[in-house]
């Protein structure tokens, strides 16, 4: 619990209207988009600027109060669930664009800006910010940076990390630092900017970010390839890339996902095929045309039932939107939807998809799969019901096996959703004991009192690796 003294001091920093410790207020910040996690914070505070944040942080270190920074709470790893109580820090007042620099091609923003709002502002100037997580309509840049979010365009353009040039950060001791700059080249010391990207709110509070922009590509084409064989679809992915074509987008959806999405979006998606690939290419017109033609041939060689290019921008947009709502649309089918984020080298996609299906069968579970196939980043999604404890047990075993498999194929336990609480027990599988100690040393260096988003990334206990019986 937060004492009256602390509460009064918080009020003196941010004003009474920006401090809330009502029960209902605490409840609605007790969860994020991760199923099965809920825990009440003690107080919610909405600062208006960096200075106020620095003062809040100092106060919290004095009293050892956990701080949970929160954007829109759309993360899928329980990264904003206040598992140890404490203070939830909101950025709703800090959502401004500070500057769009057309000469250096950068944008500087406050952390609370909604990703899509920023993208709109950038595109209005004819510029392009590629990272586009499916949640971009809701997620904030602060959240994107801290989860190092990827998106549909990640294959060709990379993820959030590749666009963060400079940060302003409030450290756990209250110091305010600036990292990086509007520079294309900079090797002065450790790359702190990159360290903060993907740090899941555990190392510092990001209060300002400068992001790289690029020129808007000249044209774009969108294509849908239909397959009656899931593995053929997966093989096509590897083949396209092996043929040295890097599409902007290369997304995979299996049949159950297609059906669920079509049910929601009603855009005439084919629901009678086993899998589809949503493929996009952008760039200069002749390159796009040539690439699309080649991709179509490669898909047909792998027995694609058909390949079709979107006839209009509306049609293309409908297809992209359909892919973006996949997760939530699946949630229609069963009370609880548990989505995972296993990632493998893209050459292993077909193997991974097959293993997921075998594991689902072995544990008698309903697992649908979609994802950023081009990045090797798959989202096997289990449709279940939390109230069925016996089944949930099987779900956990199945996912443990899926991670195991991913790692064996040279992959990782999360491609873009972060570790948070959800993946923490598995982190050691990926990093080894030594890797964990190295990361812990960094955490302790920045945050010796462990007040910044405690309980995230590092688990109390690691899971034993299961031995896959094949």
């Amino acid at each position: 619990m937060i004492s009256q003294i602390v509460k009064d001091r918080l009020i003196s920093i941010v004003g009474i209207e920006n401090v809330d410790d009502s029960k209902a207020g605490r409840l609605v910040y007790s969860y994020d988009a991760t199923p099965q996690f809920q825990s009440l914070p003690d107080i919610i505070v909405s600062p208006r600027n960096t200075q106020e944040i620095a003062e809040i942080v100092k106060l919290c270190s004095e009293f050892k109060i956990p701080i949970v920074p929160r954007g829109s709470g759309t993360n899928l790893c329980a990264g904003t669930c206040p598992t140890e109580g404490g203070l939830v820090l909101l950025f709703k007042h800090m959502n401004q664009i500070i500057d769009i620099d057309e000469e250096n091609l950068t944008i500087t923003v406050q952390p609370g800006i909604i990703t899509l709002d920023m993208i709109h502002a950038v595109e209005a100037k004819g510029l392009f910010y590629p990272p586009d997580p499916s949640s971009m309509k809701i997620s904030t840049i602060g959240g994107n940076i801290n989860e190092n979010s990827g998106g549909l365009r990640g294959l060709k353009y990379g993820v959030t990390r590749d666009y963060v040039l400079a940060l302003e950060v409030v450290l756990p001791n209250g110091d305010i630092i600036r990292t990086g700059g509007k520079l294309a080249k900079d090797v002065a010391g450790y790359d702190l900017t990159r360290l903060f990207v993907g740090s899941e709110g555990t190392l510092g509070i990001i209060t300002e970010a400068t992001l790289k922009l690029i020129p808007m590509p000249e044209t774009k084409k969108t294509m849908l390839a239909l397959f009656q064989d899931i593995e053929a679809a997966a093989r096509s992915v590897s083949k396209i890339i092996a043929n040295r074509i890097i599409p902007t987008t290369l997304e995979f959806l299996d049949q159950p996902t297609l059906i669920a999405v079509e049910d929601f979006a009603n855009i005439g998606l084919p629901t009678n095929v086993k899998a589809v690939l949503l493929i996009e290419q952008d760039g200069s017109k002749d390159v796009v045309d040539k690439d699309m033609e080649k991709i179509a041939t490669l898909c047909l060689e792998e027995n694609a039932e058909s390949v079709e290019i979107a006839k209009s921008e509306e049609e293309a947009d409908a297809l992209r939107t359909a892919r973006r709502v996949a997760l939530s649309a699946l949630a229609r089918l069963k009370p609880t939807t548990i989505l995972e984020d296993a990632t493998v080298p893209r050459s292993e996609i077909a193997k991974m998809v097959r293993s997921i299906n075998e594991i689902a069968e072995k544990y008698q579970l309903n697992i649908c799969t979609f994802g950023h196939a081009g990045d090797g980043n798959l989202h096997p999604t289990c449709l279940t019901d939390v109230r069925n404890t016996e089944e949930i047990e099987r779900v956990e075993q199945a996912f443990a096996e899926i991670f195991e498999k991913a790692i064996d194929l040279g992959g990782t336990i999360t491609g873009e959703h972060g570790v948070g609480v959800m993946k923490a027990p598995y982190l050691e599988w990926k990093l080894g004991k030594e890797g964990i100690s190295a990361m812990k040393a960094i955490k302790t260096g920045f945050d010796p009192l462990n007040i910044l988003n405690p309980g995230k990334v590092f688990a109390k206990d690691s899971r034993k690796r299961v031995v896959i019986s094949t």
Binding site: S22, V28, Y31, S72, T74, I138, S328, A329, R332, T337
Partner: protein, 441 residues
């Protein structure tokens, strides 16, 4: 403060009655957040978002949270506009959850005596009784015609009321005389060839204060080739009750209406008020647990259509020439017409087919205007914030005519015009009235 026992009873109600599956269906993705007007106007407070409200309802049901003042506050600040539903990929029926929660709270709350009296008067005494509606409305007419209106305005009597109500008094339409309200025929033939037989849902407010619009609707239907039956025994749709936690009363009215329309032998049942239509189309949900009434409600629901839908279906705009003096027009969606009855294309199509009209789509036309039943009176402050944002978008379109399809929205837009001091440059009209104007008779 609510007493301990009162909270316990309400909590028990949540445990017994709230639909657990529907609550679990929300996977907290937050896709609904950017569509919610109260979330936006409250400065992005999760407590005022659909995701937050669902979490509250679930927490009360799970026994994690008592139904305290803040919970009630959050639920009452919801407009019920249901903009969160069509964008929800999980298909959460938010409106149903809200209605149930409000009913549980309302029915188990000890009301202060004056509140109770007013609620009783409105929900039991007034709306279910069309003849009383006529009386009250005609009293308003007398007030307007007698010069009393001028006097009260002059002495600033209305300043004693919330601002929205005070302005509202100015924008209320000139109501018809009692005599005009009483003489509604039960059957009207089609003009020329008969294409469809329709039954007309007259509504309570629509058939009193907005009688003109109802008359216009009938005329349009006749012109479009419909013969019309207007069952005498129909009543108010019950929306106001349903949305305010008076479910039992709403059910009573639903049954009355289903019965009234059952024997009309009509192809369609036509409404001209988005708010009523959406409630009527949900009768099957309202009567879900009643094995006798559920199928009857379903049959009723299947016949329901908004006036704009049937006009488009019968190609009215192609057969009849529509013309207006040159003007720029924009359209404000009725939330319920759009989000629940899924009618957004038809009204736009009709407007664009009028000669002389330049149509401009306004930004966020689908966002609630803040009217929401009696919300603009009981939640005046939030309502006016929402309205002010709406008027900004209206003004940006540079149009002079705002078209709506629901009486509540119509009054709210008039209020907006009045508040912006634009009443000499801009007007708000019901789409039916505009189409009547555009008829080249």
């Amino acid at each position: 403060m609510k007493s301990v026992t009162e909270r316990k009873i309400i909590q028990q109600g949540f445990m017994d009655r709230m639909d657990e599956d529907e609550l679990l269906n929300c996977m907290r993705c937050g896709f609904c957040l950017p569509s919610c007007p109260t979330y936006i106007e409250s400065g992005f407070q999760e407590l005022q978002s659909p995701r937050g409200r669902i979490a509250l309802m679930k927490a009360v049901k799970d026994g994690l949270l008592e139904p305290d003042e803040d919970v009630e506050r959050s639920l009452s600040l919801c407009l019920g506009c249901r903009a969160c539903e069509p964008v929800c990929p999980s298909g959460v029926k938010y409106g149903h959850l809200l209605e149930e929660a409000r009913d549980i709270i309302q029915q188990n709350k000890k009301q202060k005596a004056p509140v109770k009296t007013v609620r009783n008067a409105v929900f039991e005494g007034l709306f279910p009784h069309q003849n009383r509606m006529r009386t009250v409305t005609s009293l308003l007419g007398i007030y307007q015609r007698s010069g009393l209106q001028k006097v009260t305005r002059k002495i600033g009597f209305m300043k004693l009321f919330p601002e929205s109500l005070a302005t509202m008094e100015k924008v209320l339409p000139k109501v018809p005389k009692r005599k005009e309200m009483n003489n509604r025929p039960e059957f009207l033939p089609a003009e020329q060839k008969r294409l469809k037989r329709v039954a007309f849902f007259a509504g309570c407010l629509m058939d009193t204060m907005f009688l003109e619009t109802n008359n216009g609707t009938l005329k349009l239907l006749q012109k479009a080739g419909c013969e019309i039956v207007i069952p005498k025994t129909q009543g108010c749709c019950g929306a106001l009750h349903g949305h305010s936690g008076e479910k039992a009363k709403a059910i009573e009215m639903a049954k009355l209406n289903i019965e009234a329309f059952e024997h009309t032998n009509a192809d369609y049942i036509i409404t001209n008020a988005g708010g009523c239509g959406a409630f009527l189309i949900d009768y099957d949900h309202l009567l879900m647990n009643d094995p006798e009434w559920y199928p009857r409600a379903k049959a009723f629901k299947e016949k329901l259509k908004d006036i704009t839908q049937i006009l488009v279906e019968l190609d009215f705009h192609k057969h009849v020439s529509l013309h207006l003096p040159n003007q720029c027009i924009t359209y404000q969606d009725s939330c319920h017409l759009r989000n629940v009855m899924k009618t957004a294309e038809a009204p736009r199509l009709l407007l664009q087919s009028i000669d002389g009209v330049q149509y401009y789509e306004m930004k966020d036309a689908d966002r609630c205007c803040g009217s929401a039943g009696i919300y603009n009176i009981v939640e005046s402050e939030m309502s006016m914030k929402i309205l002010d944002s709406k008027m900004k978008n209206v003004i940006e379109t540079n149009t002079t005519t705002i078209v709506t399809a629901n009486p509540g929205c119509l009054l709210q837009m008039k209020l907006g015009i009045e508040r912006e001091g634009l009443s000499d440059k801009m007007r708000a009209v019901h789409i039916v009235d505009l189409l009547i104007e555009a008829l080249n008779d």
